[in-house]
Symmetry: C2
Subunit: 754 residues, 2 copies
């Protein structure tokens, strides 16, 4: 019957895919609400199965408990007053979350009290909406209405649109007309035409804005709003140099704007989102929920096929950008601890499963998440899980290109999996990453079993902790966390990459050189950066090598620097835990001073320093009950600095984390060559230190020129291996012959290892 | 048949219980080996049940895998060379562990290869034993043979005695005679008569020595060795002021020595071991395994009834001295992470269950341990678990007295349990604790759900990590960890308690004032210390209060100080994590200097300082995703110091942990009054800060004199409570009437709270 109705009438609406107007067909049945995320059809299907789909039933039960509790407390729509973390902010957040769930409960359980709850709350919002212009806190580049920034208001409208859709057909027409005119239409205008700086960008903020406007447009069948959401506002006179609170550009130079531009531009063809996984996670919800709504209401747009299905790929990319615990790598601005357990990823996983290829690995993630989206996608996931269809999601080594066309560097992840033992090396040779980017070309981080071994500091912020700058970014984010020295990569002359200039950084990106993980025992990733320091080229290669004689793989880190002048180079390794031994002697000062006075150096205490005085040094530390050793080739005069974050930090905003810095002074061309290994375990119950010593004697640079870099790795057991890298040719079939110290090496491909 | 044999012949041997010789009966069957830990009877019983007792079967299977692997590798008895953590040390440890298990496997599985393995290894030991005098490393006050210290050799002999017992009847008599004469008897003599400084003390080391000698004596039926073990060596000319590596006295002034003296003296009647739980855990194995052997072989000694059954009580005490994860409170010298999962506690729990009252709570601990002792005790536990007899071990508030007679202060533990949410406050008013004691009278630590909130630093040592001083104590243990300022208690004039003098500390102890946990919503513990600083009396009281309006209890800490002169008082709170907010302003220095130059102050950086400038301050921090606040009554001129460990630490031996210190200068009598509360949660996935603010406005000292101390606690919701403590009278029936600021309070008992 429904299907019959759906096919009965067809109307033409105007629609465009490439900014050219096209005509597409929409069924009239779509005008029967709900038709946004839930549809009349999916509601019927779900109702048929309720009680027999455990994960769906459980999620619904939790939602019911939450909303019933909220209804018992009563409606509270306070006048906006507080910053993030404060009372009014938190209450308005709660309100949209509860309304969205109440809408679903009304549809699925048929209890009118949920519709009444949504209606009454919306009427409260409609009552106070016109009584003030903006939120009283004027701290954002785009001050919101019920929240201090338009971003949170867009969250509100995105969720609330779903609730509104669920009660739309139940409401008397005069009430929906009233709400449309007095709340929703003006709210959508506020977030777009009244805030072009917020709405008309390529940025996760704008994605939320676009989606908020698009979702309510779909509910109200307001084609003008829908088009505004998809294609942005008309470009008017804008200041292209204007920046937002985070230092990001307000307007795209090419005038790109709107939802589709936000799919086009920041996503690489592999689904990597240039701002980094933390913000990708945040943006996935609006991207996918709006895509689902568009698919329901405007299926001919084929949004899930847009840009070769990038939205589905993005979910896979994001799940791969996590450690063994499902926590996102904190590349660029990222708060540690955020994981795929976040609700936006529950939604993303379900939508990707449903609209993608029903990837059975996604089911195992959904199972861990322990909840599903309460719609057709969640139903399908819950049914598949009930049928035991899931497969494990084993993260493999992979490269994710950056840049809209995939040609602006990327992220290379080398992984090792052995039952529940995992290691991951995350190499960042991506582009700037918009306003949330860090100045850390060719940096890396390393993980073992979900624990950070060598860290990326992440952001300096306590999101939604009101006492800490209202939950917003702390100034140490700009004065420390974004700086090069806060990352495991080279700082030249104590100046951050691109002179810490956002515009310069945004124009450039490293070049991928090689990513090859075909040999599981010799996985290699390599990239070059020529613009961070004009006149200096950095070429860094990581190899994850698994030798049969060793229980775990080790990392070889080859960091070749060539410059047109002599410089000072600092390469830090940001470890955790306690120093166990060093092969070099060092001294510790009686009083602590900072390592420098700017570019993040002003936040670092110099706790100790020494001279290598050898051609190779070792540094062993104990963290998280494991022993790690850095073995590094050195020049005798190289300085080793034992450093710790925390200087000039009057609010104690920074974590007091340590690092060891290898400093080469007055040096033009050089190669940093290091081995990083996890080799032992300390068991405080057995009080046994197993393999507390490194497996290596040393690593040496045998030779280095424009064409080849050759290293020798000496093991404790007197075995040795020679590694030769071709620096200019990555052809897998090319034959190389090199003579080093009288020995001739011949091989095929871009590396030699024997 | 066995039973019949056992009763058939009786012989008389000389034996003594109170240093007077008495005659006791021993059955001849006891001379049929095994008769030490396993007995011919228990072996038969176990064999009957094998395959049907899951936890026992599983433990046996693991032991078999380990020993089979060791047999496959072959016997390795290296000449002693290395310190703890080094190769020869580790190999000899492995050897005794494998021999002990192999002996059990021989008895229970009947496979002769295990007997051969033990025999061949013993013959290797016998071969090299006479070829050298002592271990080459002369770093101990009692250098051992196969190990650098006699202590480890005693471990060897204690375990190996069990293996020897298991193959004794299987060995040809000429071989056991050979081993007795060439290895075991001289080894036992070495550990006792040749090392009286090691053997003849009251100390956990000597306990091991006594037991080693006693165990091998029981195997060889050498009554002279058994008596030496039980009663010590004859007291000869000894230097009573001599000290060991740890600074402990070598000889007991009253001439006490031997196993029974080691039960008598360091255990309080409650089973608390004065050195602290970390060493009690270490000593429990020899105490209990020898007790089991004595019970098997000399049942008339009734060792488990000795001192009112203190050995069984000690197991209960030790299990109660753990956090929610089963990790021991690191009182005195204690390495964090040690827990009741250690093998000595598996043994202890099983023995206590068997020889005690079959406490069903012990079964749940055994279940968590996942292994049992492979003898009659483990069999009984495994059977009871199979029958589902276990009850949860819910740790309750309790007091454990210190001192041989229980009159030397103690440990008061206040606990709160609400499903899986737990809090524990550990208040230490115990005696010095022998050489492993810290100078921390009236200090405390606090736990939430197995996480440290306010820490006891523990020891400064990486046990068995060879790179760190051979795994031994680090000098920072004496220069920092033992000092008063490393603990949450008052340091006067920057000098540690008892002027950091061991002899003075050993003569004194605090006096318990009150321990009353009858009211679960108002649990109180209070003690006084008059000797740490002559002329100054400290009286500290902790109250754990649960108000219905608050989700968790809060702690009120009342620290009353009276002196005959003006002093500087420093009270630190050693928190973890990051500062969220402070009610006071402070400044941070451009360079860091130490807080002082001795008594541990030389290891502390002064990261910031400010003046209270108010009658109450608040300090909120975030740790482990929880918000905590210290609310403290202050004088306006009180100094607040933000401190961090790590200065003058050339080997980076110390953890860089923070503290806040409330400093009162030029003060004679004062009251530190504070509230410590856990009030909120930060969820980095939801990015929600729940209850990020304290529930309190302030705490005030209303009045303070010799008789009464009165406080007012003000809640955020404007409620307030008055607390009045009687400082001199703890009578629960006494009526008090006090007038404070014109208000008259009357009540019965030692406190008022309304």
């Amino acid at each position: 019957m429904k299907k019959f109705q759906a096919l009965l009438f067809l109307v033409l609406i105007t629609f465009s895919c490439t900014n050219k107007k096209e005509e597409v067909l929409v069924s009239v049945d779509d005008q029967q609400h709900p038709n946004l995320i839930l549809t009349t059809k999916s509601v019927a299907e779900i109702k048929n199965q309720l009680g027999s789909i455990p994960l769906f039933d459980e999620t619904l039960k939790v939602a019911k408990q939450e909303v019933d509790a909220a209804i018992a407390i009563g409606i509270d729509v306070p006048m906006p007053k507080d910053m993030a973390g404060g009372y009014t902010h938190t209450q308005h957040k709660l309100n949209y979350a509860n309304m969205q769930k109440a809408g679903v409960l009304f549809q699925l359980l048929g209890d009118e009290k949920y519709a009444v709850y949504v209606r009454d709350m919306l009427l409260e919002y409609a009552k106070i909406f016109p009584t003030f212009k903006t939120h009283p806190e004027q701290r954002s580049y785009a001050t919101g209405k019920f929240f201090w920034q338009c971003l949170n208001d867009s969250n509100w409208l995105t969720y609330t649109s779903q609730a509104y859709d669920c009660i739309y057909s139940w409401l008397p027409k005069e009430q929906s007309d009233y709400l449309n005119e007095n709340l929703f239409k003006p709210y959508a205008d506020f977030l777009s035409v009244e805030n072009p700086k917020y709405f008309n960008r390529v940025h996760n903020h704008s994605t939320w804005g676009n989606v908020a406007v698009g979702m309510i447009g779909l509910v109200m069948d307001d084609e003008e709003l829908i088009n505004r959401a998809l294609y942005g506002l008309e470009k008017s006179d804008v200041d292209l140099t204007e920046k937002d609170n985070d230092g990001g550009f307000i307007f795209d130079k090419d005038g790109k704007a709107g939802f589709l531009a936000n799919v086009d531009s920041p996503f690489s063809p592999d689904g990597f989102y240039t701002e980094g996984p933390y913000y990708q996670r945040y943006a996935m919800y609006p991207f996918l929920i709006f895509a689902e709504a568009l698919q329901n209401k405007k299926p001919d747009l084929k949004i899930f096929e847009y840009k070769n299905g990038v939205l589905i790929k993005a979910v896979d990319a994001l799940l791969n950008l996590t450690d063994a615990n499902g926590e996102f790598f904190p590349l660029n601005d990222g708060q540690k601890g955020m994981s795929y357990y976040t609700p936006s990823l529950i939604s993303a996983v379900d939508i990707a499963y449903y609209y993608g290829s029903q990837d059975a690995r996604l089911l195992s993630v959904a199972k861990k998440q322990g909840a599903v989206q309460l719609d057709a996608t969640g139903l399908k996931v819950a049914l598949a899980l009930k049928n035991g269809e899931e497969k494990p999601f084993i993260k493999q080594s992979m490269e994710l290109s950056d840049g809209s066309k995939g040609d602006e560097g990327g992220i290379g992840i080398l992984r090792y999996n052995n039952e529940d033992q995992t290691m991951a090396l995350v190499y960042k040779y991506a582009a700037q990453g918009l306003s949330h980017g860090h100045y850390d070309k060719l940096s890396f981080s390393m993980y073992e079993n979900g624990n950070e071994v060598l860290q990326d500091y992440g952001l300096s912020r306590f999101v939604n902790v009101e006492q800490k700058n209202g939950g917003g970014y702390l100034k140490e984010n700009k004065t420390y966390a974004k700086h090069t020295i806060a990352h495991n990569t080279i700082t030249q002359n104590e100046i951050s990459h691109f002179d810490f200039d956002f515009e310069t950084g945004s124009k450039n990106h490293p070049e991928k050189y090689v990513f090859d993980v075909a040999d599981k025992n010799f996985q290699i990733v390599s990239a070059k950066e020529k613009n961070a320091y004009p006149g200096t080229e950095m070429h860094r290669t990581f190899i994850m090598i698994k030798e049969d004689s060793l229980a775990k793989p080790f990392i070889v880190d080859i960091n070749k620097v060539q410059s047109n002048k002599k410089n000072q180079y600092d390469l830090p390794f940001h470890y955790f835990g306690q120093i166990i031994s060093t092969s070099f002697t060092y001294s510790v000062p009686k009083t602590l001073s900072t390592l420098g006075d700017k570019f993040g150096y002003n936040h670092i205490w110099k706790e100790g320093s020494g001279t290598a005085n050898a051609e190779s040094i070792q540094f062993t530390w104990l963290d998280n009950r494991r022993f790690y050793t850095l073995t590094a080739a050195t020049n005798k005069e190289d300085e080793l600095i034992l450093a710790r974050v925390g200087a000039n930090d009057p609010e104690f905003n920074l974590r007091k984390d340590p690092s060891i810095i290898i400093r080469k002074k007055n040096t033009q061309n050089t190669v940093y060559a290091s081995i990083i290994e996890s080799h032992g375990i300390y068991d405080p119950v057995k009080e046994v230190a197993e393999n507390a010593y490194s497996n290596f004697k040393n690593i040496k640079v045998l030779s280095d020129d424009a064409n080849y870099t050759a290293l020798k790795v000496q093991f404790k057991n007197d075995n040795e291996k020679t590694i030769i890298l071709s620096n200019l040719n990555t052809d897998k079939n090319k034959t190389h012959t090199v003579t080093i110290n009288g020995n001739t090496y011949s091989w095929e491909g871009f590396y030699y290892y024997k």
